[in-house]
């Protein structure tokens, strides 16, 4: 099959490679590393100061509780739907909650299970049309002023709703997000995601809300004002990351998105590396697609901090972080390879192993800037654990260390894959 290359994307990619090559040749790779690091450190410093401002802020207090409709789109979720509905029901709220499950043409025995649950409304769809379409059906049927969209493999904590709702006190707020956590992580891969989710939804989401920069209302559970959803026309049924698309559309229509890190929402996370890879490829391709769709917001003063800082700098940070990993590894790989080559050659001479220690790989001194990033991220891990009152036990160190030092390589790899799939306009896989 001849790939349908996107010529403009190819040109942009080649131009970027050319620019990096030019900088490496003219400036020297090590100053390049330092400049990249410094830009990233600046972005993170802004987040840090936003966090200190957030800490001094009072929580909103609600005068009157609005009515709530909970929408649960379900596709082949027989294994978790019962538990999901149970935990949704168990959520503490002073008014009666309307619960609507939209079965999106499941092929498993979801239908049987759903028929057995009393007190909920179920919409059965014959054909599978996707999560966004299912949610739109739900929105049309919903009566509540606030709509909670919850995935069928997600289990919110009993106090989540009561903690999130007060943020709607501000009429500007169109949506509220919570702190999504991995549900009962057992395998190492799940534990790494647990750390990642804590940092993304604990620290970054909170801080982004502070500078009005939220770009995703997480699919597992987010709250929306129904009037706003109807005003902006519901979910985009063609989009592969509908939760990002709707957040950007809210931003485009000048609504605020609030974050409530006290509301904990548990969700199933991928248990296999291949599933994780596929999920992330979808997310990043979604980011490319939606960045193009909403490119008019970038550096547009009409969108305030979101247009001038959060949105463009999130893209800059992604690109820089990935280039930094590539450039740093390639700048030091010679030293690392030489070292290992030397070790083998040396062992061949039946020399004493102790003599190897002074000959550790010589890494370039610019690598010391990494230590600032590592220190900064260690602080973020600490802050994120504080949000959920978790102690950082010694048993958590392996996954935290892996996240800090190696997770970036995985993310870069997925990013490149997503990018090439996007250039190649490959089919989207859920």
């Amino acid at each position: 099959m001849i790939p349908k290359l996107r010529p403009r994307a190819v040109v942009a990619f080649l131009a970027l490679i050319g620019l990096i090559y030019f900088l490496v040749k003219v400036v020297s790779v090590f100053w390049l590393i330092i400049v990249f690091n410094i830009i990233l450190i600046y972005i993170n410093c802004v987040f840090l100061f936003a966090y200190f401002e957030f800490r001094g802020r009072k929580k909103p207090v609600l005068k009157k509780f609005p009515t709530v409709t909970i929408l649960i789109p379900n596709y082949n979720g027989a294994g978790t739907i019962q538990m999901c509905v149970d935990s949704v029901r168990a959520m503490d709220y002073p008014l009666k909650k309307e619960i609507i499950v939209i079965d999106d043409g499941s092929k498993d025995n979801s239908a049987e299970i759903l028929k057995g649950i009393k007190g909920i409304k179920v919409i059965f769809k014959k054909k599978n049309a996707g999560k966004a379409a299912a949610l739109n059906d739900g929105i049309r049927a919903a009566k509540g002023e606030i709509i909670a969209a919850i995935d069928s493999d997600t289990f919110p904590q009993p106090d989540a709703l009561k903690k999130m709702i007060p943020y709607f006190d501000n009429p500007q707020v169109g949506a509220v997000t919570g702190l999504v956590r991995a549900y009962q992580p057992k395998k190492f891969i799940e534990k790494i995601q647990e750390v990642e989710y804590l940092i993304s939804f604990g620290f970054f989401q909170t801080v982004l809300a502070e500078i009005n920069g939220i770009m995703v209302t997480p699919g597992p559970m987010s709250l929306y004002r129904r009037s706003v959803l109807r005003d902006i026309g519901g979910y985009d049924e063609q989009n592969i990351t509908e939760d990002m698309e709707i957040a950007l559309r809210l931003q485009k229509n000048h609504y605020r998105i609030a974050a409530c890190p006290e509301a904990v929402i548990y969700t199933d996370v991928p248990k296999k590396i291949s599933h994780l890879f596929r999920q992330r490829t979808r997310w990043y391709r979604g980011k490319f697609v939606n960045t193009r769709k909403y490119s008019e917001l970038i550096f547009n003063p009409a969108y305030g901090e979101f247009g001038m800082f959060s949105f463009p700098f999130s893209l800059v940070a992604d690109a820089l972080a990935i280039m930094l990993i590539v450039v740093t590894v390639s700048a030091n790989i010679e030293g690392i390879f030489q070292y290992f080559g030397f070790v083998f050659s040396w062992l061949g001479q039946s020399g004493a192993v102790g003599a190897l220690l002074p000959a550790l790989p010589t890494l370039h001194s610019s690598i010391y800037f990494y230590f600032f990033t590592i220190i900064l991220y260690s602080f973020l891990v600490y802050v994120s654990h504080k949000f959920v009152n978790d102690k950082i036990s010694i048993w958590r160190m392996p996954e935290i260390a892996f996240y800090l030092f190696f997770y970036g390589f995985f993310v870069s790899l997925v990013y490149f894959t997503s990018f090439f799939k996007e250039i190649n306009s490959s089919d989207y896989v859920w």
Binding site: I34, V46, I211, F342, A355
Partner: protein
Amino acid sequence: MVSRYLKALILTIVVLFVGLGAISFLDNNRISGISSTIEKNSLDLQESQQLFLYDSLFDDISICNSLKKRIDSGKDKASGILAELENAQRNSLFSGDISLLKRKFLLQNIELYLLIQKSILDCGSENVEQILYFFPDKEYCLDCASQAKVLDSVVAKCDNVRVFAFPHDLDVPVINLLIEKYSVTSYPSIVIKGVKYSGIQKEEAILSKISCAE
């Protein structure tokens, strides 16, 4: 609202300068160790030269003993130093005058070699074993790094062994003459007692060719 971005900018600048400071400190640290070794060797050489000068002015037999002592004490991991200098240069942001250090070390090494030859001529063959080690300077050679380690280990074992590291591609007159003299063509090569051995030589092989005084 603006102050948040300004505060972040100030903090970033602080981080930048602290980082550059740390890098320059580490770079200097890397080099200063090598530099002090070279300085020390330089002083030792100067003393030896003064002894020769004294010898040429006054006829005195005791110089052989003093000279021997001098040459014995000027012992260091000669072959490894160049590689260390190379690494420091390649991996440092603020590498300063490494090229000067390198040249100084090289000339020193040649001078020490010549002095020892002269002392052997004047005072008779002492129990000094000399190994000449030829390697490329401008390109990385894995076997050379390994050979340098082997030679360092031999020097550490045997008190009477002197290694003279000569990069072949720097166009230094004396080295060119030596290369011609021993017809060295491939690298690494070592010369022991006037015989050339090409390719990497194992420690046992070297020890079998010299008399090692521990």
